[in-house]
């Protein structure tokens, strides 16, 4: 009798273990930072989009090969240059069971155009959107827009009813630190739903049983995102088997991870350029000591540019895994040419002379703001820059802090001199100009303003003749490059490290797509 009971218990235990082993597989994913908010329209930032992408979907999307393809819309057509029709899938349900219709698409696009949205510049050319029937949406643009599909691939579709029920009709005002339901909860049509959200600690994604598509490996049922800020701890967690995938493996540890028999490393050039910004509009630097703003003078900006030994940073800080940059865009983006991407030569003597010519023979003092958990070796790059600029007499005080504070204070116009990285999800130069160079643009924190560049941006938005459009892009790049509006550093190379049996395809935009993942 007793033996029988014991046997039953053992069998039950065995069954539980066996079932979790065979049917439920979890991928534990780590990176140094976390998503800033779950509201898919509140922050246009890499890791934030990476998290949202697992839960939310857009009308069109980029596949593994980075080309645009259908997602919620099966097909689309432009009846005239300013009017587009999108035909939606009719089998899409949100993870709460509610059917997705054109009402939700109209609502989401309008939501992303609200003042608190970080995507409003993204789709500023969309002038009207309406539902024709349950599964057809008409989008009107104010002028012909050659990159509308690229832009729509990052506008996530939310449920109108869910947003209404949860007081989330407008995006969270992230700049004002607003707390909303949509910032800590997510409900979309994507392959996963979020069942646990502890910011900066743990986020649990469970397979969305109502998803319309097919997972590549059906046994993958859960993704755990466990951000680990410290690089060595992250690597230790990976090597000890606590973590399955690291999407920002520290460059100094790649050899060590690669030599471990149970792990593998993949690298690919990332669609992201790291650069420094210098406020060119303020009359007086907030953190300066000269009483004026040296950055107003182009010679000063060029002196700083030429004082930076980018090859040393590449060799020592990035361990060869970076590509020195001359412009803030990278191969593969419309408008990129190798000619533009050439840097001014590294020349300390010339830099000193430029500084003296500009009236600062003894240099000046300024604070450099840096994130310490966003880009590959961000703080180490900044520390290296401090030393290099010190050699021409510019005393730089480094202030490195976590990315959420760094970005918030930048948006709040607190930076004289700062580090930022820029990716181009639309793969078109317009995106860079629209955010970084246009007068008054939301991330133009150097306050660069040039009428010719602004005019060229108008051409990029409305010109359908590709030759004319490309000429405008080339001209705009030349102007901003000659003006040294920013101080480009390098294009990032990203490296993913994972257990050998965990397969998540690496993508140049650093976004894992877990629906294509598999565990062997």
């Amino acid at each position: 009798m007793k033996f029988n009971n014991l046997l039953k218990i053992l069998l039950a235990v065995l069954f539980v273990f066996a079932s979790t082993q065979t049917f439920a597989k979890t991928i534990k994913w780590s990176m140094q930072g976390d998503s800033l908010t779950l509201d898919p329209h509140a922050q246009n930032e890499g890791p934030t989009t990476q998290v949202s992408r697992q839960v939310y979907e857009a009308l069109v999307t980029r596949g593994l090969d980075m080309s645009i393809g259908p997602q919620l819309a099966t097909k689309w057509k432009a009846v005239d240059p300013n009017t587009w029709y999108f035909y939606l899938r009719d089998d899409v349900k949100f993870s709460n069971g509610q059917k997705m219709t054109s009402e939700d698409v109209v609502f989401s696009i309008l939501r992303a155009k609200q003042p608190t949205s970080d995507f409003k510049e993204y789709i500023s050319t969309i002038s009207g959107v309406k539902a024709i029937d349950d599964y057809t949406v008409q989008i009107k643009t104010s002028k012909p827009n050659p990159i509308l599909l690229n832009q729509l691939s990052n506008i996530f579709i939310m449920s109108k009813k869910w947003c209404h029920d949860n007081f989330a009709i407008v995006p969270q005002n992230w700049d004002a630190s607003q707390e909303t339901f949509s910032a800590v909860n997510a409900m979309g049509t994507g392959p996963f739903k979020i069942t646990l959200r502890e910011p900066n600690t743990k986020t649990v994604f469970k397979k969305n049983g109502k998803w319309w598509g097919d997972m590549k490996d059906k046994s993958v049922t859960e993704i755990h995102l466990l951000p680990i800020k410290n690089a060595a701890t992250r690597v230790a967690a990976l090597l000890s088997g606590e973590i399955d995938l690291v999407t920002d493996a520290p460059v100094q540890d790649l050899a060590r991870i690669g030599s471990s028999s149970g792990h593998k490393v993949e690298s690919t050039p990332q669609m992201r350029t790291i650069f420094l910004g210098m406020d060119q509009a303020a009359d007086k630097l907030r953190t300066g000591n000269t009483g004026d703003n040296p950055f107003k003078k182009q010679k000063v900006r060029q002196a700083l540019y030429q004082a930076i030994d980018i090859e040393a940073i590449k060799k020592k800080v990035m361990r060869g895994l970076s590509e020195p940059a001359g412009i803030i865009t990278f191969p593969g983006v419309t408008g990129y040419t190798a000619e533009l991407d050439k840097r001014l030569p590294y020349d300390v003597g010339a830099a000193k002379k430029l500084l003296a010519d500009a009236g600062y023979p003894n240099g000046f003092e300024v604070e450099l703001r840096c994130p310490n958990d966003r880009y590959v070796n961000d703080e180490a790059i900044c520390t290296a820059v401090v030393g290099m600029l010190g050699k021409i007499g510019v005393k730089v005080n480094l202030f490195a802090q976590t990315k959420s504070k760094h970005f918030k204070e930048l948006k709040d116009n607190q930076g004289d001199f700062y580090m930022l990285g820029w990716g181009v999800p639309t793969l078109d130069s317009h995106y860079v100009f629209h955010y970084l160079y246009e007068t008054g643009a939301s991330w133009n924190k150097v306050n660069f303003s040039n009428a010719d560049v602004d005019a060229a941006i108008r051409v990029m938005e409305g010109e359908v003749d590709l030759d004319k459009r490309n000429a405008a892009i080339a001209n705009a790049w030349k102007i901003v490059r000659d003006n040294i509006a920013y101080l480009p550093l390098h294009h990032q190379v990203i490296s993913w490290a994972s257990k050998s049996n965990v397969d998540v395809p690496i993508r140049p935009n650093n976004e894992p797509l877990f629906r294509f993942s598999s565990i062997n």
Partner: protein, 308 residues
């Protein structure tokens, strides 16, 4: 015996302490190491040509040079360089100066506060004594590292960011000092309780010497021995507390690293084979703390007549 002049030097040579010192190899070795470390740290400008705290003097291309005796090592960087091209030996010595300054200042702060309160509590007794002793009890229930973290957190809240980097060292001294004073208070109170009933104190009271003079001129010299012993051990603790706080990232800023900050910065490179960046500061810290502790042990054995 009588022929010899009673000079200061002869008094030292004839003392029990000197005799015990030259009979103890551990005391001699640890004192020698400490003198060497103190000298190199405080006169570091003359010991090494590098100034790791001046970013403009560094060259990034020198970064990650291994120690000189290894294959890729360079003779000019004996212990190698860190990720910014700073000479490890110079950085460690500059860093240990910060660690020592913080350690000494924190102990002196704790000593003055603790002895002042403990001595007066033991001498006056009554409600005052009770309040002081309960205060030490409360303080002892809070782990010193937590106490130090709390002080640092509050200071960060009050002091503006620009000022904080400059104030960091004072905040550290205060934070570590405030977490160590109860030890001193308890020991000095206990010793005072013994001393105050002795005849010389009664005699002083009868001839009308003021309380302040009795406490500090008559009692204090007699209770100094145990205080010196815990002061020495407290110094090792303070240096380690400083390293812990800096390792946790709440200590001095990375541009002017102390030993703890150096170990933290080097930690990132442990897996990549650049072991020397974290190993040498760590070994240095161990040797420093160990020598102080050995000296403290010897002092306890010598100064405590009950053990002889």
């Amino acid at each position: 015996m009588g022929n010899k002049k009673i000079t200061w030097l002869n008094r030292v040579k004839n003392s029990d302490i000197y005799y015990s010192f030259i009979k103890s190899p551990t005391a001699i070795v640890s004192t020698f190491i400490l003198i060497l470390i103190f000298f190199c740290s405080f006169f570091v400008e003359f010991v090494t040509p590098y100034n790791p705290f001046d970013p403009s003097s560094l060259s990034l291309m020198d970064a990650f040079t291994p120690p000189s005796w290894t294959e890729d090592g360079l003779a000019k960087f004996v212990l190698g360089t860190d990720g910014q091209g700073r000479d490890m030996l110079a950085t460690i010595l500059y860093g240990s100066r910060i660690s020592l300054i913080v350690g000494f200042s924190a102990v002196i702060f704790a000593l003055v506060l603790g002895v002042g309160l403990g001595l007066s509590a033991g001498y006056f007794g009554g409600k005052y004594e009770m309040i002081v002793m309960r205060l030490t009890d409360v303080q002892l229930t809070v782990p010193s590292i937590l106490m130090a973290l709390l002080v640092d957190g509050i200071a960060r809240g009050i002091i503006s960011r620009e000022l904080h980097d400059e104030m960091a060292i004072y905040v550290l001294i205060f934070a570590i000092g405030i977490s160590e004073w109860p030890q001193f208070a308890r020991v000095s109170r206990a010793a005072t309780l013994v001393e105050k009933n002795k005849d010389y104190v009664s005699a002083s009271t009868i001839i009308g010497v003021s309380n302040l003079i009795i406490m500090f001129k008559h009692i204090l010299p007699n209770i100094l021995r145990p205080i010196l012993v815990i002061g020495t051990i407290g110094l090792a603790l303070a240096i380690i507390a400083e390293a812990t706080l800096s390792f946790l990232g709440v200590g001095v800023p990375p541009t002017t690293p102390s030993l703890g900050t150096l170990i933290r910065l080097g930690n990132d490179f442990l897996f990549s084979g650049e072991w020397w960046i974290t190993f040498f500061p760590a070994i240095f810290l161990v040797i420093l703390a160990f020598s102080i502790n050995l000296l403290g042990d010897w002092m306890r054995d010598t100064l405590n007549p009950k053990l002889n």
